[in-house]
Every structure is written in structure tokens, then in C-alpha cells.
């Protein structure tokens, strides 16, 4: 459904639903309203192909600053045997209505067709912009942000993944630049780090004359599936502009969730499953280790959810740069700094922000530079947290 408002000051709105599809050399979706005499046509700019019956789709809205208009991303899930794991496609929404932009073949066509049918048929409007009544031609950019990317997922293919829920894949998609949004949750903050850009451009390493590129993601890990804060973070929070320090704390919650879960997991493995091999001294040592957050973070980064080395090295370099910039006395020896681990630096950064916030307000240092450095660390932390979630493996 699309909604069109009367011109202000009227507050009347008109609901437009898909009432007809006209097939000629193209398929044209016609939307009409019971309250106003106006027909809005949208033509899918691709040669008409057969849409197999008994298939349905669900559409989700994303943006991706690195996605070119002609790109079509073929989304696949690792380990899914059928059809090489294919579950859907990402398209730029406006490109579906523009001539000579996308190369949609007979296999991709059903996704494009059903995706548009879904968008135009939903009883709650998915549109991201307000449109006003006009007798002139409408195009899709009157209803959706120009850079809207739609993910069209085949429900029947997704059903092959037990308890499939797109919410559990948002972190993985974030690593390739895809950010979920909707009208009430606009994107205010975009991660433009070269790490994410490289991930996306990596998909296009081999040029494709058809503009179709494959993105393979892993099945969501049951260990953290349904963790509501993680969903909330990637669905609603990460898009928002926030104070830099608050933003780091917001992101760090992911680590807090993992170390809480890892505590129980480690106790289960090291103590419960190994009870008869333990004596009181060994048990005390294990419990002592488990009490230290830093040890759990170390286990997280080193064993359970190892970040990619490029990201790890970049985060470490940026954290050291920050500590040097704020004249932290713990970081005066470059040779020693170089030996420090990600766990040490990351945990120390968190502690310094929480317990020694005054450090960053030293009048001898540039506040603007401090803010820039925290912003850079935040962008990398967004990627780091997304990787922690995506790579986690017990």
C-alpha cells in the first residue's frame, strides 16, 4: 500500500492498494484508492518472465552507501544445500523502474516481481516518504528514499533454515554496508569506514557483466539468536546519531552480553562437564579466572569470536593513537604499545571512558581531534561488534 496526503492544511490521506497488473511488453502494477479517482502505475523495467506459482516473498528495507545502482546482490546462506543456499536478492528499488539499469534475467525476475507486489500490497505502508496528491506522474522516489535497497527473501527457501528470522542476520549484513531502516527509523549515521567498504567491494572483486554479485552469510548462531538487545542495536540504534561516548557504551553492551553468556558456558565446560577431574585448588583457580572480565573478553576475542586480522590491527592502531593523543601516561612507550593485545587495549579504552572520562578533557589536547578519534574508534567498534556476533562459534 502507498499513502498519499491531501495538500496541507488538509490532513486527509488516501490509501492506494495494488488492484491490477497489466501485462504487455512490461508488467505494470496499478494502484488505486477507494477515496480518490487516481490510478498510479509502476512498470517493472525488465522483460516479462514467468513467475512460478506457490512462492511468496517478504521484503525488508535497507540502505547501503557502497551499493551502486546497477548492483544486484544474490544472498546465500552457507551450509544450506538447496540451490547453493540462495534465499533472496538485494535490488535498488528505484532501479527496478528505470530502463537499462538492471540486468534482470528470467531467474531473478520472479524476485523483482513478487517483491514489488509485496511492497504495493501490504496493508501497512512501507513507504519512507510522504507524498501529496497530484495529477502528474508519480515515480517511486516520491514514496521511497532514492537510495532505498530492498531485500526480497523467498519465504519457501528461508523456511529451510530452522527458526529463520532476518533480525538474526542484521549484524552480518551490516558488515557489508547494509543498514535496516524505515520511515520512523531514518538513518542518521552511516559507517563509511574503509573496512566495510572493502568488504562490499570484495563482493565485486571479479567484475560481473550482469551486475549480479554473490554475498554468502553464515547461519545465525543459536547461542545469541533472539538476544533482543542485539536485534534492537542493529534494527534501531546503530542508525542514530549519538554522543560519541554514549555510542561506545551502547556498542560495548554486545561484549557485556557475550561475557555474561560465556561465563555460564565456560563454567559448564570447565567445571560441570569436568567436575570429577577437579580438586578444590583447580576449582578456585578457574573461578578466579572467570571472575575477571578481561579474561572473558580475551576468551571471546581469541577463542570464540576471532575478528579478522585487518580489523583487529586497525582497531589496535586507532586505540593506541587515541591513548597517545590524550597523553595517557600508560602509553608513553611505543615499543611497549606495539606488544599490547586487542583485549588489553579495548578493555582499557572502555575502562578509561567509564572511570577516567576526565582524561579526554585535558585542556592541553585538541578536543576536535579527540572527537574525531573517538568517532573513528566507534565506526571500527561497530564493525568489531558485528564481527563478534557474526563469527561467534562455540
Amino acid at each position: 500500500m502507498l499513502i498519499i496526503k491531501d495538500k496541507a492544511p488538509s490532513t486527509i490521506t488516501h490509501d492506494f492498494l495494488l488492484t491490477n497488473v497489466v501485462t504487455s511488453n512490461l508488467n505494470t502494477f496499478e494502484l488505486t484508492s477507494p477515496t480518490i479517482e487516481l490510478t498510479i502505475p509502476f512498470s517493472l523495467e525488465a522483460p516479462v518472465a514467468v513467475v512460478p506459482p506457490n512462492y511468496s516473498v517478504t521484503v525488508h528495507l535497507f540502505k547501503n552507501t557502497f551499493h551502486s545502482q546497477q548492483d544486484i546482490i544474490d544472498l546465500r546462506v552457507e551450509g544450506l544445500a538447496q540451490r547453493n543456499g540462495k534465499i533472496g536478492y538485494f535490488f535498488r528499488l528505484d532501479a527496478l523502474f528505470e530502463n537499462n539499469v538492471l540486468q534482470i534475467d528470467q531467474y531473478i525476475y520472479p524476485y523483482a516481481y513478487l517483491g514489488l507486489e509485496y511492497v504495493f500490497s501490504q496493508m501497512s505502508a512501507m513507504q519512507t516518504k510522504d507524498a501529496e496528491v497530484s495529477s502528474e506522474d508519480y515515480n517511486i522516489s516520491h514514496f521511497f528514499d532514492e537510495d532505498t535497497v530492498i531485500l526480497v527473501l523467498c519465504n519457501e527457501y528461508c523456511a529451510n533454515i530452522p527458526n529463520f528470522n532476518i533480525e538474526n542476520y542484521l549484524a552480518q549484513l551490516f558488515l557489508y554496508g547494509f543498514i535496516s531502516f524505515n520511515k520512523t527509523n531514518a538513518i542518521e549515521s552511516v559507517n563509511t569506514s574503509s573496512f566495510i567498504e572493502d568488504n562490499y567491494l570484495g563482493l565485486k572483486a571479479v567484475p560481473s557483466p550482469t551486475g549480479v554479485y554473490v554475498l554468502r552469510i553464515s547461519k545465525a548462531n543459536d547461542f545469541i539468536s533472539g538476544e533482543t538487545y542485539i536485534t534492537h542495536l542493529f534494527r534501531n540504534l546503530i542508525q542514530k546519531q549519538t554522543d560519541p561516548v554514549t555510542r561506545f557504551i551502547m556498542l560495548y553492551q554486545v561484549v557485556e552480553i557475550f561475557i555474561g553468556k560465556l561465563f555460564h558456558y565456560e563454567i559448564q565446560n570447565k567445571v560441570c562437564n569436568n567436575l570429577f577431574a577437579l580438586d578444590s585448588y583447580k576449582l578456585k583457580d578457574i573461578m578466579g579466572e572467570m571472575q575477571k572480565q578481561k579474561n572473558l573478553i580475551k576468551a571471546l576475542f581469541n577463542r570464540y569470536s576471532r575478528p579478522t586480522s585487518t580489523l583487529e590491527n586497525t582497531v589496535k592502531a586507532k586505540l593506541i593513537e587515541f591513548f597517545v593523543h590524550v597523553l595517557d601516561p600508560d602509553y608513553i612507550d611505543p615499543a611497549e604499545n606495539a606488544k599490547l593485545t586487542l583485549t588489553h587495549l579495548f578493555y582499557d579504552y572502555r575502562n578509561k571512558l567509564v572511570h577516567q572520562y576526565r582524561l579526554i578533557h585535558n585542556t592541553a589536547i585538541s578536543q576536535a581531534d579527540t572527537k574525531t578519534k573517538i568517532d573513528e574508534i566507534n565506526q571500527l567498534t561497530e564493525s568489531l561488534m558485528a564481527e563478534v556476533i557474526s563469527n561467534f562459534n562455540t
Binding site: 488516501h14 477515496t35 479517482e37 551502486s68 545502482q69 497530484s134 515515480n139 537510495d147 567484475p207
Partner: protein, 418 residues
């Protein structure tokens, strides 16, 4: 007061009687405005023809409830505001003064007869009246039909010498609930060019069956309008829906144009001249993938255009031209005649048009790969291409290849291509 007997409509010879009540002159746009009284029946006889034959008239957009109320009111002989019509006819110059009812009446009659009348304001009211007439015919209520057809309405008819003048007036008057864009007003105003052409050039509508030949004698009507709109809006983007601000910007351009010149015609003839020159200089160049041995110029996707005309007859090129020429007129006072004079001197490095055109296609290949909005970026490219080509102060002045490089560099920086 003058009684008009208006000519035949379709195949049936019917005398339409309208009464010209007053004629006033609009000195600003050098046009007359005639107020006539006409019965609903007489109005609908030619209005139906206008609505049916002009695909660019506005679409229906009326609230179902309002339509129902208006329908009931019309059956009770309500008075509706004047319908505003317009006529653009060469003979309008022969109207002597505000008392020349006879000439004005003849021109109106002839325009209705030849279907050269435009509905400027009142189309939605017209739709309701047409629907009501159909409905009464369908239920065979002859008493109600006769009564309805005999109701009188007023119509104001603009008799303009010049379309730009009419366009100017249409925009300034266009303050209704659903405002029309300059682009849409132009579609209505220049519709007849799609029938009669300009100096032998054919303008073909999307709905026409005939294919546009690959010559400089035939063009897509909408694409030429896009280009002309870019000239008026000073913007290469295709703006296809209302924004009052755009109309205001157009007014700024229109009010500076000479009232007695048909700039639409000049625009098209200048572009045709440019195409003829390029076509001849490039020796009717055609893209041939197999002959393209230069690895750096190999294309990854299908070419933007396969011939010189295929490239330059696209909307992206013509809108870019419109925006560039408008810019050069404003900043360098370069007019259409000067552009035409320059075309003969366009050249390229070593007169190697094959490399020049292949390089241009390679640039379009990269645009397609990197662009976040391909069509817009292509239009942007052409705007700078023509600015580089026709600006005497530019380093790429009259150099095809250098203009193309200049345009690509401007685009790359502006759109942050990596």
C-alpha cells in the same frame, strides 16, 4: 457581444454557439483573453475531443466524495467557476484590438475545429461533467440530459501569439490545489508540435506507432521537452512533478525571454544542427566491439549508445545540453545563434573520432559501474560536456575529447567516484 458558430467536431457537423462577452488584452504576454458563455452541452462536445486526443492533459484526480457532491450540484444547475482555455494560433496577430470580436471569434472557432484548444484550468470539473453526461445517456434520462446540457458556464480563452507567453501566464495563474509543473504545462502547450513538426522535423510521441528513425529529422517528443525543460529550469535533472519553487525558477527564465521568439523551436533546431555536425565529422560512426583493440577502452557492459546519434539523441544528452546552454546564456551571454556558429568548428584530438567516441563510451561504462544514480550522473556528465565544448573560456572549447575528459573529471570529483 458576438455569437460564435463553431465548426465541425469529429464527423458530425454541429454548430456550437457561444457568446463572447468581453475581450481584454494581456500586455505582458502580448495575448488577448476572451470571456465566453457557453452551454455545458456545447462545451462538452469539444472538451471530450480535447481530453481524448491529448495524452498530456492532466490525469483524473478528484476525491470520490467531492465528485459525488459536484455531480449532484450540477444536476441542480449550480454555477461553476470559469473554465480556462488557451489557443495558440498564428492568426492571433490579426486581432486588431479589444473590440475585434469577429476576428477573435473566428480564431476560436477554427481552433476548436482543428482541435487546437487546450484546457488550462478546469479539467477535473470537465471530467465530472463528461462522466455525468455519459451516465445520463446510459440510464436514458433524456429530460435530465437536456436540462444538464442546457446549463450555461463561463470560459476564458487565452489567445496567445507565443507559447512562452502562454506558459508564463499558465504558471503565474496556476495556484490551484494540485499545481502543475512547468514540465507538464509544456507538454500540454507544445502538444501540437508532435502533430505538425518543426521545419520538417518530426516529434514522435511514445504512444505513436511509428519508430523514431536514426536520423536528425525525428526525435522523441518527450525527450525534446525534457531538454527544453532543463533549459528553462537550468537543471539537467528530469523533474517530473510539481515543485512550486521549480515553477518560480522557470518564471525567472521565461520573463527574460523575448516574447516574440519561439525558443522551443530554436532549441530544437540548434540541437539538430549540432547533431548534423557531429554526425558528419564522425563520419556516421558506429560502435564495433570487435574492432576495439585498445584494452583500456574495452567495455564491461553494453555500450551507452551504438552510434553517434544513439548516444546524442538520448534524454541524458539533450537535458545536459539544455542545462549547459542555459548556463552559458546566463553567465556568458551566449545565445542559440552563437552555439550554432560554433558547431562547425568542433574538432577532436588528431581528428580521431573513433577513439574520441570509444573514450566517451568507456567513461559511461565506468559511470554505470560506480554510480549511485546512473541516469542523473549521465545527465551531469553531458551538462559539463556541453559546457566544456561551447564555453570559449574553457580549455576544452570546441574539443570533443577534451570536453569529454573534462566532464568525466567534474563528475568523478562531484560524485566521489573511487
Amino acid at each position: 457581444m458576438q455569437i460564435l458558430y463553431l465548426g465541425c467536431i469529429q464527423a458530425i457537423k454541429i454548430k456550437i454557439m457561444a457568446v463572447v462577452k468581453s475581450i481584454l488584452k494581456d500586455e505582458r504576454i502580448n495575448a488577448y483573453n476572451a470571456l465566453v458563455e457557453i452551454t455545458v452541452g456545447e462545451y462538452l462536445r469539444f472538451a471530450r475531443n480535447v481530453v481524448d486526443s491529448n495524452e498530456f492533459q492532466r490525469k483524473r484526480v478528484i476525491k470520490s466524495k467531492i465528485k459525488e457532491i459536484l455531480r449532484e450540484d450540477l444536476l441542480r444547475n449550480c454555477l461553476i467557476p470559469s473554465i480556462v482555455l488557451a489557443v495558440s494560433n498564428e492568426e492571433i496577430g490579426s486581432i486588431k484590438n479589444e473590440d475585434d470580436y469577429e476576428t477573435s471569434s473566428n480564431i476560436i472557432a477554427k481552433s476548436i475545429d482543428t482541435n487546437q484548444i487546450l484546457i488550462i484550468d478546469g479539467l477535473q470539473r470537465t471530467y465530472v461533467m463528461l462522466d455525468l453526461e455519459d451516465e445520463l445517456k446510459k440510464i436514458d434520462d433524456s429530460n435530465a440530459l437536456v436540462a444538464f446540457r442546457s446549463h450555461k458556464i463561463r470560459a476564458e480563452i487565452y489567445l496567445g501569439l507565443n507559447r512562452i507567453g502562454l506558459l508564463y501566464r499558465m504558471i503565474t495563474l496556476n495556484t490551484g490545489q494540485t499545481t502543475m509543473s512547468t514540465r507538464h504545462l509544456m507538454e500540454i502547450l507544445y502538444f501540437d508540435y508532435s502533430k505538425v513538426g518543426i521545419n520538417g522535423i518530426k516529434l514522435i510521441k511514445d504512444k505513436d506507432e511509428s519508430k523514431i528513425s536514426e536520423t536528425t529529422e525525428e526525435y522523441n517528443f518527450k525527450i525534446i521537452l525534457d531538454g527544453f525543460n532543463s533549459y528553462l529550469e537550468k537543471n539537467e535533472a528530469v523533474i517530473d512533478r510539481t515543485e512550486i519553487l521549480d515553477n518560480i525558477k522557470s518564471l525567472d527564465v521565461l520573463k527574460l525571454e523575448e516574447v516574440n521568439k519561439d525558443i522551443f523551436k530554436e532549441f530544437l533546431l540548434t540541437y539538430k544542427y549540432f547533431l548534423d555536425c557531429i554526425l558528419s565529422k564522425s563520419n556516421h560512426w558506429k560502435y564495433n566491439d570487435h574492432e576495439n583493440e585498445e584494452p583500456a577502452l574495452k567495455l564491461n557492459s553494453s555500450p551507452f549508445g551504438k552510434t553517434t546519434l544513439d548516444i546524442f539523441k538520448k534524454s541524458q544528452a539533450i537535458t545536459g545540453f539544455g542545462a549547459a546552454i542555459s548556463f552559458l546564456k546566463d553567465t556568458k551571454n551566449i545565445r542559440f545563434t552563437a552555439i550554432k556558429d560554433m558547431c562547425d568548428s568542433i574538432d577532436t584530438d588528431n581528428d580521431d573520432w573513433n577513439t574520441a567516441l570509444l573514450s566517451l563510451l568507456k567513461q559511461f561504462d565506468i559511470i554505470k559501474e560506480k554510480s549511485k544514480k546512473i541516469g542523473n550522473d549521465q545527465r551531469f556528465f553531458f551538462k559539463f560536456f556541453f559546457r566544456g565544448l561551447f564555453n570559449p573560456e574553457s580549455d576544452s572549447h570546441l574539443d570533443f575529447n577534451k570536453s569529454s575528459e573534462y566532464a568525466y573529471n567534474e563528475l568523478r570529483v562531484e560524485k566521489e567516484y573511487k
